[in-house]
């Protein structure tokens, strides 16, 4: 199976800052891939290199086995939205689509079709100035769909969408990919895309941290053991003597990481701490994500470098 998208040792440096470093991955046809990482991890830079808007410092990114700039009529194969605000405010939504459609040799009727698809027909002839953020998001998507592409690349499409919009987008992408087409969608919040994607690429500080299916990811990173006990403090000390990491969930519940319920039970017995409940919990995807990117989901603080990105986490 040939890869729809292939990044080969992609790197991008801006002066002394390395935005993307030695990034390699492939996307197979018919997949929806979540491209994840905290803000500033290098997602947008990677997508810009993929789409021919920025030149890699080294390495290369291929789409359909070619550099984007070498594709004849790329809009007929790839649809992309990088910013939700890329419109001239004084131009109508329909004219915006027509200017792009003309460049790709598409008829004006195609603009009307995609406007209907994203449910913007009523606003088609109004100037974009008067569009809400949600409407702009959909107009951007309409532009990406003009050429009826096989690959859709969306950068943070859920930003600024209300829950209804997020649901609409999810259903749309599902339908889009069900026909064997491919989607690459970036986000800094895993939960936003967890219900949509089948596989994830997680990057942090410009490097690939994880490339796996969503199930693998969930299974791969172990959960925590939850203990309910009246002796939280006593148990915590006992566990720490065993080099186990704990977090207090509330005054009666302790979460123990990186171990089994048997071990925790034994430690509790040895320490003479009563246990009222002992459960192994699969960690939520968001926890997994935060562990992997070593942050709070926003900018990488740099305060927890040791927790971030153990090299062996790379599959």
């Amino acid at each position: 199976m040939t890869a729809i998208v292939r990044a080969e040792s992609l790197s991008k440096r801006f002066g002394r800052l390395t935005a993307v470093e030695d990034l390699s991955f492939e996307l197979a046809a018919g997949t929806i891939t979540g491209f994840l990482g905290p803000n500033g991890a290098g997602k947008t830079t990677t997508l810009r290199m993929l789409l021919g808007l920025a030149a890699p410092t080294s390495g290369r990114a291929l789409v359909f086995d070619q550099l984007y700039a070498q594709l004849q009529q790329p809009a007929l194969r790839i649809g992309a939205v990088l910013e939700a605000t890329d419109f001239h405010p004084g131009r109508s939504g329909r004219d915006h689509l027509r200017t792009l459609g003309l460049a790709a040799g598409l008829p004006d009727s195609r603009a009307d079709e995609v406007l209907a698809l994203v449910e913007l027909n009523d606003a088609a002839k109004r100037r974009v100035k008067g569009y809400s953020l949600g409407m702009r998001q959909r107009l951007g998507l309409a532009a990406a769909l003009l050429g009826d592409p096989e690959l859709l690349v969306l950068d943070e499409p859920a930003n600024g969408l209300d829950p209804e919009g997020v649901r609409w987008l999810r259903d749309f992408l599902r339908a889009f990919a069900s026909g064997g087409r491919t989607v690459l969608i970036s986000s800094h919040v895993l939960a936003e895309v967890a219900q949509t994607v089948d596989q994830v690429l997680i990057i942090n500080r410009g490097r690939l941290v994880v490339e796996s299916s969503l199930e693998q990811l969930t299974a791969q990173v172990g959960g925590a053991v939850r203990v309910r006990t009246p002796g939280v403090e006593q148990l915590r000390q006992a566990l720490e003597r065993e080099q186990l990491q704990t977090t207090a969930s509330n005054e009666h519940v302790l979460l123990v990481h990186g171990t089994t319920s048997e071990h925790v039970g034994d430690v509790a017995l040895a320490a003479g701490v009563p246990v009222h409940e002992l459960v192994t919990e699969g960690s939520s995807l968001e926890q997994v994500f935060l562990e992997l990117t070593g942050g709070d989901g926003s900018a990488v603080s740099g305060a927890t470098p040791s927790a971030a990105v153990p090299p062996e986490a790379k599959p």
């Binding site: 808007l53 790329p74 109508s92 003309l102 460049a103 790709a104």
Partner: protein, 244 residues
């Protein structure tokens, strides 16, 4: 590239910016006509040069045409539409080539409208005073065709300038400063150099007889050279720079 030219022409037509520039151009020509009519001496406007100046009010179209060219590039960077534009046409020289072509065509429209209004009013001013018309047919033809060509070239020059500067406010201010201040200062201080500046090349092209100006043919060539040089610099920068 025809598809891209069509797209660029639709960009020019589909916002109110162009209409605003056309209206601004006509308003300025009318204002200058009014000033010429009111301020010229009784019995003035009878010499060839006075008449040529009066009839060349349409040459003011050049600056508006140049602004339209600048906006054709810089508004794409300002509003981010350059991203979808390049996604649809990743060969950037093709985009800039289309913009230059669309600019020339739009510039022609500016030229026809500006020159039409300017020449008509100039003619009316002279005619209303009952002054004999002393310009030859050849001189009038040079004035009309020269203005038309210069106005079209100005738009292409604006496209190149906009591609170099990219920042819209910077490019607009830079262009106005260049046209109204730099060229005049240079021509005033060092006419042997200043006559090669684009506004003075235009003056030469339309047949003005100010001292130190180039010949009409040389003026036309110099204006074309400016367009080519700025377009090439703009092209190499646009092709090389990353789009954020």
């Amino acid at each position: 590239m025809i598809a891209q030219v069509k797209a660029e022409l639709l960009k020019v037509r589909s916002t109110r910016t162009t209409l605003g520039l056309v209206l601004g151009m006509i308003a300025l020509i009318l204002l200058f006509a009014l000033l010429t009519g009111l301020l010229s001496k009784i019995g003035g406007l009878s010499t060839t040069e006075d008449q040529r100046t009066t009839l060349s009010l349409g040459s003011l179209a050049g600056i508006f045409s140049a602004l339209a060219g600048v906006l054709l590039v810089t508004s794409e960077f300002r509003f981010g539409t350059i991203r979808p534009t390049f996604l649809f046409t990743p060969v950037r020289s093709r985009v800039l080539g289309a913009k230059l072509t669309a600019g020339l065509l739009a510039g022609l429209v500016f030229g026809v409208l500006g020159e039409g209004v300017g020449f008509a009013i100039g003619y009316l001013i002279i005619d209303a005073r009952g002054i004999a018309f002393v310009l030859s047919g050849g001189e009038v033809a040079l004035l009309l065709l020269g203005t038309l060509a210069a106005t079209a070239l100005w738009a292409a020059l604006g496209v190149g300038f906009g591609a170099i500067v990219r920042n819209q406010v910077g490019a607009v201010i830079g262009l106005l400063a260049w046209g109204f201040i730099v060229d005049n200062l240079l021509f005033g201080l060092v006419p042997s150099v200043g006559r090669f500046m684009p506004t003075r090349a235009q003056d030469a092209l339309i047949g003005l007889k100010t001292e130190h100006l180039l010949s009409p043919a040389a003026g036309g060539l110099v204006l074309v050279a400016w367009v080519v040089v700025l377009a090439l610099i703009g092209l190499s920068l646009v092709a090389r720079r990353d789009v954020s």
